[in-house]
């Protein structure tokens, strides 16, 4: 598999937008791995949280947007609580979700939700889910 890393990609408009929307300097991460080690949803993910931020550091935004990882993030803030550099990874994940949805549409089709689930679930589950998975 051929991967191209260039200054143009690392300093691309995508990366600039991600940093602006997340308010984070992605270069602050030095890959200690505490985020990935503590992430309770990591086993559902294809890429680990620190691998996502590594992709963004290298300007490989498309691969990050294609991951399942950003959708399995529950915004539990464990990574942010433990990051020794104070990188707000939940905000980065949110920026990536928003960018992915701008490009490819909503991650959840509300009209196709199970009606029985609608009756059983507490509404805060839907409000939060809709806000994370739709534009």
């Amino acid at each position: 598999m051929r991967v191209t890393i260039s200054v143009e990609q690392v300093r691309s408009e995508w990366v600039r937008r991600i940093e602006e929307v997340s308010g984070q300097d992605v270069m602050a991460c030095y890959h200690c791995g505490k985020c990935s080690a503590g992430c309770p949803a990591a086993e559902a993910m294809d890429l680990l949280p620190n691998q996502i931020i590594r992709l963004v550091q290298l300007g490989q935004v498309e691969r990050a947007l294609e991951s399942q990882t950003i959708w399995y993030c529950a915004a539990c803030q464990t990574c942010y609580a433990r990051c020794p550099k104070g990188v707000d990874l939940p905000r980065l994940m949110e920026a990536l979700r928003e960018l992915a949805m701008q490009k490819r549409g909503d991650h959840l089709e509300i009209a196709r939700l199970d009606v029985q689930a609608l009756a059983e679930f507490p509404q805060q589950a839907f409000i939060a889910g809709f806000r994370k998975y739709t534009t």
């Binding site: 559902a44 959708w71 920026a95 806000r131």
Partner: protein, 298 residues
């Protein structure tokens, strides 16, 4: 003691038992919770993109309503609402430009200046009422019922904004439960995510997350898990039917709200506490410990 109280959507519908037991337990401790007039949905998740100002308007409206009603504190039972309101308040205090924009948008008689304090009921009960007063009021008490306190994410993180307890080793709910006469059970994973909204689209992702919490509490000897969030309560309760299918040795564990346990400890009538809505019925475990209906078995 009197506080304006924010119930949130779920407490008024799917989690009425939490709402009712919270207000009654508070009342038994001399705390009057006055539902904030014209409160609105907090949004259920704190908006994490820096340009998402509109999603702050909902929670901010509750803060300015509290100030308008003459309150300096907004008391919250639901951990998620607490987290959203508190983080919103913190953000607005730190970003006066955003606050100015929101004030212009909300068009209230007085602009909000960050003067309201958002506090969780655990904080109010333990620090304003005090453990001693709770201990005295806990008659008949919980009779040594073995309870594992589950904090989840929203009560704890980010710690500098939420500032309720130690994010890695919390104890405030444990202290309250001990004062109620429970035998508090220590176990790992008490501050880990149950899966939250992941269950809406991917319940299979929430399953191992909830399983870790429930099985650790069960192995530590808990008869009941206590929680402060309707979404945690739902995930940890509703998922157990699937956990029983997935994990051969899984033993069911009832998941209750800490305020339901308070009501029971104070001898209040649990009729409106919603035990019959739980997927894993807590009543057998409660009856076994002799704490159902406020009547202690001899």
């Amino acid at each position: 003691m009197r506080y304006f109280y924010f119930p949130g959507c779920t407490l008024e519908t799917k989690a009425v038992g939490f709402n009712r037991s919270a207000k009654e337990a508070a009342g038994a401790l001399g705390v009057e919770l006055v539902t904030l007039p014209e409160w609105n949905c907090c949004g259920a998740t704190f908006p994490l993109s820096t340009d998402n100002v509109l999603d702050l308007a909902g929670p901010a409206r509750n803060l300015v309503s509290t100030a308008e009603a003459g309150g300096d504190t907004l008391a919250v039972a639901c951990a998620t609402c607490f987290n959203v309101l508190r983080r919103t308040n913190h953000f607005l205090r730190k970003h006066p430009d955003t606050l100015e924009k929101l004030n212009a948008f909300l068009e209230r008689p007085q602009p909000y200046a960050g003067q309201v304090e958002v506090r969780h009921l655990l904080d109010i009960f333990v620090h304003d009422v005090g453990l001693e007063a709770i201990r005295r009021r806990a008659v008949p008490g919980l009779g040594g019922l073995r309870v594992a306190a589950y904090y989840g994410c929203m009560l704890l993180r980010p710690a500098d904004e939420i500032a309720l307890d130690d994010p890695e080793r919390p104890g405030i709910m444990d202290e309250l439960l001990a004062a109620l006469g429970a035998e508090v059970v220590d176990y790992p994973h008490r501050g880990e995510c149950c899966g939250a909204y992941l269950t809406v689209k991917s319940p299979e992702a929430s399953m191992p997350m909830s399983y870790r919490i429930l099985s650790a509490a069960g192995r530590a000897g808990a008869q009941v898990l206590a929680t402060a969030c309707p979404l945690c309560q739902f995930n940890l309760d509703w998922l157990q039917a699937r956990l029983r299918q997935q994990y051969a040795s899984y033993q069911p564990l009832p998941v209750m709200y800490f305020t339901q346990l308070m009501g029971l400890a104070f001898g209040l009538d649990p009729a409106g506490y919603g035990f019959e809505q739980h997927y894993v019925d807590p009543r057998p475990a409660l009856a076994q410990a002799g704490v159902l209906g406020g009547i202690r078995s001899p």
